[in-house]
């Protein structure tokens, strides 16, 4: 187990260098001069242009630029944005917001999704089951931004139940965005949990337990629910990354100053150092969450082990 974790953690080192380099190369490959774009329609004298190119190492070839970036990184310097803000400060500032949003959405997915799925599975074919199946199909079919704007206008503006945009507090400003962001996941988790539980309820060991006279509550709670959650946990692990990436749209609608907004703006501005910083952290979080998921498998189903 310990060895397994160490190996997995070590694997992250090459992945980290690979992703940072790839992302850096991709931003580098974008056409155009980001400094010229900064000046808009106004002229930028050559001397100023040169000074700014030097400041952001934009005249160097890709490998040298990347080398300087990694060199700075090892000394804890992540570079700075075109507006002069240190990237390290920007990351801690914006990640806080996105993590709060993603975790809130995740909890929604887990709690609401599993609850709906279990209820639907136990009342299979009943009204609730039909409602859950129909409702989730509906939600999966709507694009996030339609759902987001509608929720903002109806629940925020007209009914005044939630703030229409970010006000800085958790959970107030995060509930509505998290519901929007997690809506797809809730639907998906509900369907997964339902299907998996139904399948397990038909298993031989359940029939055996029933014939032995084990209480139904115990059959569901101990014998089936736990192992039924394996596909759900797999999905939730993968989805955590999606939640953070999907935050681009939700953060935009609700004006949450998180990394989604930042990545979008920085790609437009071709701010290599910012994009690399944000996305590399995204990759690392994604890897860590998936490691956690793999470890959870063993807890949920003792047959799976990481010896």
């Amino acid at each position: 187990m310990g060895r397994y974790v160490v190996v997995r953690l070590l694997q992250m080192i090459p992945v980290f260098f690979g992703t940072t380099f790839l992302i850096y190369a991709m931003v580098f490959a974008l056409p155009g001069d980001p400094i010229l774009a900064l000046a808009g329609d106004k002229p930028l004298p050559p001397a100023v242009l040169n000074a700014l190119h030097d400041r952001y190492n934009l005249d160097d070839p890709l490998i040298v630029q990347y080398g300087k970036y990694i060199g700075g990184l090892l000394q804890g310097d992540l570079g700075e944005t075109f507006t002069g803000q240190p990237v390290g400060e920007l990351l801690s500032d914006r990640w806080t917001v996105t993590l709060q949003l993603a975790l809130t959405a995740w909890v929604f997915e887990l709690v609401a999704g599993v609850a709906l799925g279990v209820i639907a599975a136990l009342r299979r074919g009943g009204i609730i089951d039909t409602l859950v199946l129909g409702g989730t199909t509906f939600i999966i079919a709507i694009p996030v931004f339609v759902f987001g704007y509608t929720a903002q206008i109806v629940l925020g503006l007209h009914l005044g139940l939630f703030p229409t945009s970010y006000e800085g507090d958790w959970p107030g400003s995060f509930i509505l965005p998290a519901m929007v962001l997690g809506s797809f996941g809730i639907a998906y988790v509900a369907r997964l949990a339902r299907a998996s539980l139904i399948e397990n309820l038909r298993a031989d060991f359940v029939r055996t337990a029933q014939s032995k006279g084990v209480a139904r509550r115990r059959i569901i709670g101990v014998h089936t629910l736990r192992n039924s959650l394996i596909p759900v946990v797999t999905y939730l692990g993968v989805d955590f990354g999606n939640l953070m990436a999907g935050a681009v749209v939700t953060e935009g609608i609700f004006n949450l100053p998180g990394i989604g907004q930042q990545v979008f703006q920085s790609i437009q501005l071709q701010e290599g150092t910012v994009v690399v910083g944000v996305v590399s952290l995204l990759v690392l979080v994604y890897l860590l969450v998936n490691l956690l998921v793999d470890l959870l498998y063993g807890v949920l189903d003792p047959r799976i082990s990481h010896g």
Partner: protein
Amino acid sequence: MKNVVRRAGWAAVLTAAALVAGACGGGGGGGGEGQKASRFSVALTEPDHLTPGATSSSYSITVLQAIFEPLVEIDPKTGKPVMLAAESITSTDQKVWTIKIKPGQKFHNGEPVTAESFADAWNATAYAPNGWTNNYYFENVVGYEDLNPEEEGAKPKADKLSGLKVVDPNTLEVTLKAPFSQFPIMLAYTGFAPMPKAAFADLKAYDVKPIGNGPFMLDGEWQRNRLIKTKAFKEYGGPRKPKSEGIDFKIYASRDTAYVDLRANKVDLLTTIPAANVSEAKGLLGDRFVSTPGGTMDYLGFPVYDKRYAKPELRKAISMAIDREGIVQAVFNGTYKPMGSLVPPLVPGYREGICGEACKFDPAKAKQLFDQAGGFTGTLNLYFSNADPSYEQWMQAVANQLTQNLGIKDIKFRKIPAADYLKTLREHKQDGPYRNNWVMDYPSPQNYLESMWGAGNRMGWENKEFQELIEKANSAPSMEASIPLYQQAEDLAIKEMPMAPLWNWQDQAGYSKNIENVTIDAYSANLDQITVKK
């Protein structure tokens, strides 16, 4: 460590949020009359910098106009300069200018505002290694080259403009390379604001907490992507005395969200209502919807160096085949104004419809002129950048009209990445009509004519007479005397039509039920005049 930083950041945000909530959220419990802070909020897009010399972003300028007092401001009725920090700006030869500064003015940190405050700020802006975007405004000052070596890697010879001379604490003398009659009006731009000595100790810190000499001062640092908080500056002695206790600039990533917040009265002023929401906003906000003509213009430029576009008749035919009114209605919801002159209405010397029939939609005449000029062969490429989807929309309309009215069938769109677009134009790589946009720096015909039609222009248009007229106007003894000369130059540029005017942007603003006395003009939102309802 990281945790500490985070927590501190959060505490600040929470406090700020609480204050914002307190400011907007009505009386609340217990507070009697006068207890409520008379603050209001303005929706803003994240600025790039807050150092006056380092930014030309309109979002930054909105903030800078509140925290800085430039030498002059522009009277929205006449377009002429009115003295603010300056007592007088005079010259006998339009080349050596003497600026007298009103004594007794103070920066927010208590430092006196002197001629040196201006000289320091201008030198820093003109000094290339600082990399400040307003650098080119000082090109015309003597000594500029010593601060801006052309060759790469060269060290500047000096860090001060030799053309700036501090005569005494209240007198600054500026020597220009060539006579320039429009100099006083240029000084209204926030890029010419003064900076205190304290700024130069740490320019980076200054950029997030600028110390100005204006009616409002920063209350804490700029919280990036969230909030810029200001409060009234008690010792401000100028004519723009604030009528409120402070302004919160709330930063939005999306204008649509800002608009929703305006409807919810969560933000008090939005100066950029998205075009798609304008007709709805007019109905919802009623009197609280304000439309102001701005200084921004769109043009269609022609590559005159390309043989196919060399004849003025052909360029005029294309201009006449474009239904400006129709496009403005269809693409911009009627919010822009079709233009028949090269400068917008708010610029002194504007003459309505001076372009005559060459800018009027007349498909029959256009076709006639087009055939007379010998028609057009090959592919007609239309150039624009991908910065905004509306560019492609109106270019498509232009293409349809050229096909319909002139019979040009082979039209292709050249959508260039925004970062590459201006480089393409500058290097004359465009071989077809292109979108040209101009945001006004200062209301003078010179700002439009010389910048876009002058030497080294994007069209590759060369006209000695035009050049001479501009030079003559620039050295005219007064601004009044310069206007007829600029108008003659405009006539020439219209006659040859290397670039056709399309439309003038209008700024669409709206405000909440919480504030009154909102007077927005083309130069400023006049935030100091706004009062908060009791």
